[in-house]
């Protein structure tokens, strides 16, 4: 169980996150939705210790993130929104680094790593550097690394970006299977179909504030005959730019 209480983050005068309070249960896939700058990444980065919140607290399985940072970090694995990290390392070196970070022996990780490498079709590329990979290949490398420790909490920031359809499908299956084992999966996305397919529960953020927290089904039930896209755009703020599109592309565009 992850408990986020009154979490706030200010960047100078700008309030990136305001008094966010959430409960994320084990065995759940939890999605964050929101426009650009809504506070999704700030929340996830606070959870994984990349940034320091201005106020509020986070506990993971009863452990306060600040007081037990090391222990909490050991429970979490993170897939960042841009996979441009450790570019000088080969894929195998990157996985070895993560194994060392999580104190896992070669015996403990090799079987899991080999299966993940096979799943993502990376077998021929394990000795190549991340710098030489495409965006999608880097993303796959990082996803494999994150799963090596079989983390209790798996956090992914817009994970489907840049993945080919097969890899995207495999990742979604992995996320479902991971949650089915009783572990927690938290991710952010702009893709509403993905949110609808995967999330047990979601949070919609707008300008740093939580505007909805509940299940996708409840949200759809509350707004009968409307698509999730329409509901989301009404909640998060809609700008009808149809006339501008006509101006730019002409009246006959499809």
């Amino acid at each position: 169980m992850i408990e986020i209480d009154e979490l706030s983050k200010n960047y100078g005068d700008k309030k990136a996150l305001q008094n966010l309070t959430l409960r994320i249960k084990s065995g759940e896939i939890f999605g964050f939705l929101g426009h650009n700058g809504a506070g999704k990444s700030t929340t996830l980065k606070s959870l994984v210790s990349i940034i320091q919140p201005t106020d509020g607290s986070i506990t993971v399985d009863g452990l306060d993130l600040v007081e037990h940072r090391q222990e909490v970090k050991g429970k979490i694995a993170y897939v960042p929104d841009t996979p441009d990290i450790f570019l000088q390392l080969s894929a195998m070196e990157y996985w070895n680094l993560l194994a060392a970070a999580y104190n896992l022996s070669e015996d403990e990780v090799s079987d899991r790593r080999n299966k993940l490498v096979e799943l993502f079709n990376m077998g021929e590329h394990t000795d190549e550097t991340l710098a030489s990979f495409s965006h999608g290949m880097r993303q796959k490398t990082i996803i494999i690394g994150a799963l090596l420790s079989d983390p209790d909490v798996w956090i992914l920031d817009e994970p489907l970006q840049g993945l080919d359809p097969q890899a995207a499908y495999d990742l979604k299956q992995l996320m479902k299977a991971h949650a089915a084992k009783g572990k927690t999966v938290i991710f952010s996305t702009h893709n509403l179909d993905t949110a609808q397919q995967l999330c047990d529960e979601l949070a919609i953020l707008k300008k740093g504030k939580l505007i909805y927290n509940g299940s996708v089904n409840d949200l759809l039930a509350q707004n009968e005959n409307e698509s999730l896209e329409d509901i989301y755009l009404q909640m998060a703020g809609r700008q009808d730019g149809g006339h501008l599109v006509d101006d730019i592309e002409g009246d006959n565009h499809e």
Binding site: G74, P80, D84, I85, M92, N103
Partner: protein, 528 residues
């Protein structure tokens, strides 16, 4: 300490700070621990080569009879180590863009600290190896057996380096805890590096103004009291004074080490997270700017690149401090201040040689293209002339370097009380030399360009690494000094000075044409 984590982190950092060497070994099929071993071996061999070169240069000094020279060299290289350590610690711990990659991982604080501080020390060692040589030569000439003198020198060198690194860590980590730092991160660090550089350069100039004094049979400098206990360790290893020096060293190490262990290390994660948060701070006000015209926008963009935190001062420090230290250490000579006109040519050549000593792989002109990061690839896709784009960049880098060199030469002229005519000759020589040498480093940056760098140390260590940089400075000084001495001797001793000056002028013109033609053909032409 978790050795496995430390080893894993060290392996990553070794690759990060040696990107080009790493790529070279990868192309030869090296990977994983094989690659790490190769990188370590390379560093070790380079260090040995340097010990040999420095040793050969300093061999003639009998430091055991020259306590003033001993303390002069120790002060020089301690100042250099302080300045390099402070900028190194800030770069590796705080200014790198890799914090986001480390912070989510459950590495222990001790391992992160030691892996990073070892990398900082690997950057500082090449600049401070002369200390080791001075220690060894002093011990050996004082009658200590070679193996014992070597061991003693290594132990004291490691202790001194550790004390410097620990003290600098305390300064940098102490500063980063302040709210002033959190609100004005790059300003505070730039100020710190600037102050360190000014103190170091000021200290060097002051020391150089020190009177020479007769000590026994030799002409020595006035000893610097604070480093005399170190001299005692090597001069009289088993005396009471030597024991006091050992105690002092150990006490400093324990105090600084203890402060680090109990004050810095327990909060390292928090501090790095906080510093990282400040660096992703989105509080900057949206600035309204109105520029039109491609040239104006590109010039403004290139100026913005210089605002990379810490870069400018690091560049200045490497372009000013290291050459000054090395020039003072290995090539300084008293120059008469009332020289006739026939010496103008020598000063022109000295200006060219000076450019060779001050421009190196860490100069702005040698990094300006890589500062573009991925923008450079994007610019290539735009319908603008890449040649013109690069020419604007080159011009900016050249002017920047010329201003630095001119300022140093003006200061040197004042100190040496040279005439205005000689200063003009020096500046003209430096302007021409800077132009030619800038061509080399600009092309080098293009050839070795790195668009995914995470901290400036990575940029500076491209090619041959820091040892390569020191080699370049060292070789430039040796070649420069040899040429100037030869030319001076000819002017002073031979009757036909005008003829010698004419011959030198012809050689300079021919060489310049050849160099310009070479870079036109090999570099600029590809963008036509």
């Amino acid at each position: 300490m978790n050795k496995r984590q430390l080893k894993a982190l060290l392996a990553v950092n070794l690759r990060l700070v040696n990107p080009q060497v790493t790529d070279r070994y990868r192309k030869k099929g090296k990977n994983g621990s094989d690659l790490t071993r190769k990188l370590q071996l390379q560093f070790f061999i380079n260090t040995l080569v340097f010990i040999f070169i420095y040793g050969a240069t300093m061999f003639s000094f009998d430091f055991s009879k020259l306590p003033g020279m001993f303390t002069f060299y120790v002060t020089l290289f301690v100042l250099l180590a302080l300045s390099q350590s402070i900028s190194g610690i800030y770069n590796i711990f705080f200014a790198g863009k890799d914090l986001d990659s480390y912070l989510p991982l459950p590495f222990r604080q001790k391992e992160i600290f030691f892996s990073k501080i070892l990398i900082v020390s690997s950057n500082v060692i090449p600049f401070t190896l002369p200390l080791l040589i001075v220690f060894f030569l002093t011990g050996w000439r004082s009658g200590i057996m070679i193996p014992l003198a070597l061991l003693l020198a290594i132990v004291v060198y490691v202790l001194v380096l550790a004390i410097i690194l620990f003290a600098c860590s305390l300064i940098v980590f102490g500063l980063t805890k302040t709210s002033l730092f959190r609100n004005h991160q790059s300003v505070v660090m730039n100020l710190l590096i600037a102050v360190t550089t000014v103190i170091a350069v000021g200290g060097i100039l002051m020391m150089n103004g020190n009177q020479y004094s007769e000590t026994g049979a030799s002409l020595d400098r006035t000893p610097i009291a604070i480093f005399m206990p170190l001299f005692q360790i090597f001069k009289d290893a088993f005396s009471l004074a030597s024991g006091g020096a050992w105690l002092g060293l150990l006490a400093l190490l324990l105090v600084f080490g203890g402060l680090l262990k109990y004050i810095v290390l327990p909060h390292l994660n928090e501090q790095l997270t906080l510093a990282n948060t400040a660096s992703v701070d989105g509080s900057k006000k949206h600035k309204r700017v109105q520029r039109s015209g491609l040239k104006q926008i590109l010039d403004s963009y290139n100026f913005q690149l210089l605002k990379e935190p810490n870069l400018l001062l690091q560049v200045l420090s490497n372009s000013i401090m290291m050459p000054i230290i090395f020039i003072f250490s290995f090539a300084f000579a008293k120059v008469p201040n009332n020289l006739p006109v026939k010496w103008l040519g020598v000063f022109f050549v000295a200006g060219i040689a000076f450019s060779g000593m001050t421009i190196n792989q860490s100069s702005l002109i040698g990094n300006l293209i890589s500062l573009d990061r991925m923008n450079f690839e994007f610019v290539k896709s735009l319908p603008i002339s890449l040649k013109k784009y690069l020419q604007r960049k080159f011009l900016l880098g050249y002017i920047f370097q010329l201003i630095i060199n001119t300022l140093i030469l003006i200061v040197a002229t004042i100190i040496l009380k040279l005439s205005l005519a000689m200063l003009v000759a020096l500046i003209c020589g430096s302007a021409w030399g800077t132009y030619l040498i800038s061509q080399h480093y600009f092309r080098r940056d293009y050839k070795l360009r790195l668009t995914n760098w995470t901290n400036v140390t990575q940029l500076f260590s491209r090619g041959g690494g820091n040892l390569g940089m020191v080699t370049t400075i060292f070789v430039s000084i040796i070649v420069g000094v040899t040429v100037i001495l030869g030319y001076s001797a000819a002017i002073a001793l031979l009757p036909q000075a005008w003829m010698i000056n004419t011959i030198v002028a012809i050689i300079i013109i021919i060489l310049s044409v050849l160099i310009l033609k070479f870079y036109q053909q090999k570099f600029w032409k590809q963008f036509d």
